[in-house]
C-alpha cells in the first residue's frame, strides 16, 4: 500500500523533498515509516505528524491512510 508523505517549512529543507510516496502497512507507526524513509531524521519534540489531515501520534499505527505530513511548529497569522 502506498502512503503520500508531505513536508513543510524546515522539515522540507531538512528532508530535501516536498512530497513522496512510500510503501506502508496499516500497522506501521508514523515514526517507523519516517525512519525507513529518512533514518537520520529525528522529529524531536517539536515536529508533529498529521495522518489524513488530523494530528496523530508518532507511535500509534497509522491504519489505512493516504497522506502523512510532517508539521514543524506552525507560525501563521
Amino acid at each position: 500500500m502506498q502512503l503520500k508523505i508531505l513536508t513543510f517549512a524546515q522539515t522540507r529543507t531538512q528532508l530535501g523533498f516536498s512530497e513522496c510516496s512510500v510503501e506502508y502497512a496499516p500497522t506501521d507507526t508514523p515514526r517507523a515509516i519516517l525512519r525507513r524513509l529518512a533514518p537520520d531524521f529525528d522529529p524531536g519534540r517539536t515536529v508533529r505528524v498529521a495522518v489524513d489531515l488530523e494530528y496523530a501520534d508518532w507511535d500509534q499505527p497509522v491504519g489505512v491512510a493516504t497522506e502523512l505530513a510532517l508539521i514543524p511548529p506552525v507560525s501563521g497569522g
Binding site: F8, A9, A50, E54, Y55, A69, V74, S75, G76, G77
Partner: protein
C-alpha cells in the same frame, strides 16, 4: 454560524460586506500585518506557506468549537500565502455577532488557536 475560509496569493483588501440580517450588533475586523523587523533584522517581507487542505479542515473544526461558547452570526478567515511585503496584511478575520463580546472573543480566540494549531508557516527570508 456562516463561515468563510479563504487562502489567497493576492493583497487582502477588507471590503464592506452586507450584514446578513438586522440583528448584527457588532463587527470586529482583525488584520495581522507583516512588520519590518524580524528577530531584529529589517526584512522586505515574509513568505507564507500552508498545508491548505489540513488548515481548512482544522479551521472549520476550531470555528465549530468556538461557536459553542461565542456564537457569532458569521466569521470570515482569509490568510495570504506566498510573499507578503512589510506593511501588508497576512491575515484577515472578520466576526459579526449580535453582541460585541462574542465578536471580540471569537476573533481573539480564533487567532490564538490559529497560531498554535493550524498548519501555516512563515518562512525565513531567503
Amino acid at each position: 454560524m456562516e463561515t468563510h475560509i479563504e487562502f489567497t496569493r493576492s493583497r487582502i483588501v477588507p471590503s464592506e460586506t452586507p450584514l446578513p440580517h438586522r440583528e448584527v450588533g457588532a463587527q470586529v475586523d482583525f488584520l495581522g500585518i507583516v512588520r519590518e523587523l524580524e528577530n531584529g533584522a529589517a526584512i522586505p517581507g515574509l513568505h507564507y506557506d500552508a498545508y491548505e487542505t489540513m488548515a481548512r479542515l482544522q479551521l472549520g473544526k476550531i470555528l465549530t468549537e468556538l461557536a459553542t461558547a461565542h456564537p457569532c452570526v458569521a466569521v470570515w478567515f482569509v490568510h495570504r500565502l506566498g510573499f507578503v511585503p512589510v506593511g501588508e496584511a497576512s491575515l484577515f478575520v472578520r466576526a459579526l455577532a449580535r453582541h460585541r463580546r462574542e465578536a471580540l472573543e471569537m476573533t481573539t480566540l480564533l487567532v490564538e488557536r490559529l497560531k498554535a494549531e493550524v498548519p501555516i508557516w512563515k518562512l525565513p527570508p531567503a
